[in-house]
Symmetry: C2
Subunit: 146 residues, 2 copies
């Protein structure tokens, strides 16, 4: 079951400048940043609020690391803007399978690694009224050692 | 201060079909629907989660009611997809004024009526790295009579 808006993925040409825009304009700070070589992106997660399912909602700012990445091609066509939306679930495998059974194309055979150790998959935008839609299961929160 | 992702605004050609897609695919139900003649849209709000600031996050599905509305023109150019994102604040007037002082164009002189009695304004997408950005202050919650 999808229980939160996990993040809004925003494609940009220059991650540092875009991070600075969000900081200076709204006061949003970088919660986490990483490079995902598989996806060909450098990204920053800005945490906006916590959510009622125990998770949180973020903006995910994405800059391509290579010209043949999906995000680079998308930027060439569309310019900067909202690239995808993501819903959080405790069970990305089960939800992806159930959604595939309803006739929506799921883009990965198996979930892949997303931000902050999450497991993610994507649904085909043409099957989702034009919206590239991601499903995310967050990494388990590690208990502090004691 | 912006304290939540209030909603993601998604433009569609046929509101009823799109509502049915979100219900059948994900189980999301319509929380509220209305026509906003000023904006030239018929809309459905699907509540996804509550947020840590006492508000909630929604998907807002938007169908134009007339061909000269902003959303109709946007659909002609882009097809269906994410039209805007919205952040919730307790003080849309104060935040809009502060953001305007930073050089970001605010599209309304004064906030206007948004979904569910909220007060809203928009920031120019060219000043926001391509993202049409809305600021929302929800209507006060009415206390039950007693």
């Amino acid at each position: 079951m999808l229980t939160r808006i996990d993040h809004i993925g925003i494609a940009c040409f220059d991650l540092d400048k875009t991070v600075e825009f969000y900081r200076a304009t709204y006061g949003f700070e970088v919660f986490h940043s990483e490079v995902n070589e598989e996806q060909g992106v450098r990204e920053a997660m800005l945490k906006i609020n916590d959510t009622s399912d125990g998770g949180a909602s973020y903006l995910q700012l994405l800059e391509p690391t290579r010209p043949d990445s999906t995000v680079a091609k998308w930027l060439d066509k569309n310019g900067e803007g909202v690239h995808h939306i993501a819903f959080g679930t405790a069970d990305v495998d089960g939800d992806a399978a159930a959604i595939k059974d309803k006739g929506v194309r799921v883009l990965y055979e198996e979930p892949r690694r997303g931000s902050m150790g999450s497991r993610i998959t994507f649904l085909h935008p043409k099957d989702c009224h034009g919206v590239l839609t991601e499903l995310v299961t967050s990494a388990p929160v590690e208990s502090p050692e004691h």
